[in-house]
């Protein structure tokens, strides 16, 4: 409830039904040594919207996702989800509330098959704690295949995850997050590593899947074409702050944004296989 009732909060003026923010961050601060990865982040994510996060490497984009999913704890500020504070909860507890995430570096079970990766996510949603019945029971196998099929991964289902190419691993990573059926999905550079020729198709598929499932999405993205076509709003990250926020049509025409963000960003993102990393939290 911390988000509503604040003066100047855009959510306040609208009818509460369906328009209270799903995720609301206030005053997030986190510094690694002298580097301010979050320097007063305020952000509301509305139900059903696709919010893109853009900005140069080291601006704190991944840090925001890490704070929201409980992997990093901000030094100050608050985060609420669905009106409930979630700061201080473990990644596990946050996932249980319906926030999923995918990773810049795909986090797959490399010695499992692609099918098993997806099935494990489905099993995790069901609570996992059955030690005797097989993982690949008919119902879960069918559902896992369906999820993989939606991402075009069905032909690779029997392969070990470490045998996939970078693009397929990225998709499998997102497929696992989707299989958990989150209400809010945070994606860290979902298209990096995906071959340029396939990129638009992949994003279209992804967006369709998420829209069908009524998933709200926040995604870090370097490709402005993707942002322009698929994002409802764009947040521009710069040195741990949000420098601009609004519809892509407005924000991407902002001269300051063009100069400071897009000017120094290669349009297709960092080269495949070697994604540049955020300011370190190691």
């Amino acid at each position: 409830m911390s988000a509503s009732g604040r003066p100047g909060d855009e959510a306040v003026d609208r009818p509460r039904q369906g328009t209270a923010p799903l995720l609301s961050a206030r005053g997030l601060r986190l510094a690694f040594g002298g580097v301010k990865a979050a320097d007063g982040i305020d952000l509301d994510v509305m139900p059903g919207e696709f919010l893109a996060i853009i900005g140069p490497n080291g601006a704190g984009k991944t840090t925001f996702i890490n704070m929201t999913t409980g992997y990093l704890r901000p030094q100050a500020g608050s985060i609420s989800y669905d009106g409930q504070p979630i700061l201080g909860l473990s990644p596990r507890a946050i996932v249980a509330r319906g926030i999923g995430r995918s990773f810049q570096l795909p986090q797959l079970f490399t010695e499992h098959t692609v099918l098993e990766n997806a099935a494990l996510a489905i099993a995790a949603r069901a609570g996992l704690w059955s030690p005797l019945a097989p993982l690949l029971r008919p119902a879960w196998r069918t559902e896992a295949m369906a999820v993989l099929d939606r991402f075009g991964l069905a032909p690779l289902a029997g392969q070990r995850a470490d045998a996939l190419n970078e693009g397929a691993r990225k998709l499998a990573d997102i497929a696992m997050a989707v299989a958990l059926q989150p209400r809010l999905l945070l994606m860290d550079e979902p298209t990096s590593g995906v071959a340029a020729a396939e990129k638009m198709g992949v994003v279209e598929t992804l967006v369709r899947v998420l829209r069908e499932a009524k998933v709200t999405a926040v995604f870090v993205e370097h490709d402005m074409e993707v942002v322009e076509r698929f994002a409802d709003r764009v947040a521009v990250w710069s040195q741990g702050r949000i420098a601009a926020l609004g519809p892509p049509a407005t924000v991407l025409k902002d001269p300051a944004v063009l100069r400071d963000v897009i000017g120094i960003e290669p349009p297709t993102g960092p080269p495949a296989g070697l994604p540049a990393r955020e300011s370190g939290h190691a």
């Binding site: 890490n66 990773f103 570096l105 986090q107 990393r277 370190g280 939290h281 190691a282």
Partner: protein, 311 residues
């Protein structure tokens, strides 16, 4: 409490002196184990066997020197010579023939390979020196004892254990710290420890560094054994005892810590010798209890650094 202290001053004093000497030996083994782990990323289960073989070799060499009519002080040369020999022969042999084949492989395999080496060396040691106790305490006796005052009492304690053992350990600690921080070879070793890929990309010959480090670590373990040999009679099984104790030290201190290993050796050495005098049935348990207690509070060890995984 005061009464108890007054009654037990003598025992406490003995425990302190014993513990110090014992800690010195434990440190010699643990620091080598730590150094080798830092560079090779392998926990060498056979490290204790090098200690044992160093001890047996020193005793044999000392006896041989004595029967050859060499002056008694040659016994000290025998200790150092035996350690150097064991390190120079077994170090390269083990590293080149066996360990080199398993770098970067799964930890389980690496542990098991060194466990196999341990089994082999254990029997090699029995085949050479038999199962009867071997002892050569001339280097300790030669220096005589000194009276250490404790309260109203006086404890006669061997100069060898009071000064030589801690002295060598301290010299090793200082020398090693200086070597790793101030010399080129030392810095190269540290570089490989910190980031092997980066070090190799800079043109460092990692193969040479691993060979050098392992040989040096082996020599340190053998020196520990050689120094221990005059203070005890040698029986099969000392290798197995030594290695688990130095595991405890390394895990308690945190991996890769040299000064930390020294302090932890002291802690564990003293803890153990206090147990020897006051609760002998718990002598063997104390080091592990210390270790478990420390890791409960600090999972990365007393001086270890937490690593965070990047996602």
């Amino acid at each position: 409490m005061a009464d108890w202290l007054a009654d037990n001053t003598l025992l406490l004093g003995l425990a302190l002196l014993d513990g110090l000497a014992y800690a010195a030996l434990v440190f010699m083994v643990a620091v080598g184990l730590n150094l080798v782990f830092g560079v090779l990323r392998i926990v060498n289960v056979a490290h204790g066997s090098l200690f044992a073989i160093g001890a047996y070799s020193a005793a044999s060499l000392g006896l041989a020197f004595a029967s050859a009519g060499l002056p008694p002080w040659a016994g000290y040369a025998a200790l150092v010579l035996a350690a150097a020999l064991v390190g120079a022969v077994l170090g390269p042999l083990v590293e080149r023939l066996v360990l080199r084949r398993i770098y970067g492989q799964e930890e389980v395999l690496q542990l098991l390979v060194t466990f196999a080496l341990f089994m082999i060396l254990e029997d090699v040691q029995k085949l050479i020196w038999g199962v009867q106790p071997v002892s050569q305490d001339l280097p300790m006796k030669l220096l005589g004892t000194v009276d250490v005052p404790f309260g109203d009492d006086v404890i006669p304690f061997t100069i060898y254990q009071l000064f030589v053992l801690p002295g060598v350990a301290l010299a090793t600690l200082i020398g090693l710290a200086w070597f790793l921080r101030r010399t080129l070879t030392g810095r190269v070793i540290v570089a490989v420890t910190t980031d092997k890929e980066a070090a190799m990309a800079m043109g460092i010959d990692a193969a040479r560094v691993t060979l050098l480090t392992f040989t040096f670590g082996a020599a340190l373990a053998a020196l520990g054994g050689a120094l221990a040999s005059p203070t005890t009679s040698l029986v099969p099984g000392i290798g197995a005892q030594t290695i688990v104790l130095s595991f405890a030290v390394v895990a308690t201190a945190g991996l890769g810590q040299i000064e930390g290993a020294a302090l932890t050796s002291l802690l564990i050495g003293l803890g153990r010798s206090v147990a020897v005098y006051f609760a002998p049935e718990f002598e063997v348990v104390v080091p592990y209890i210390i270790m478990v207690a420390v890791l409960l509070v600090r999972p990365q060890g007393l001086f270890g650094v937490l690593e965070t995984r990047r996602v």
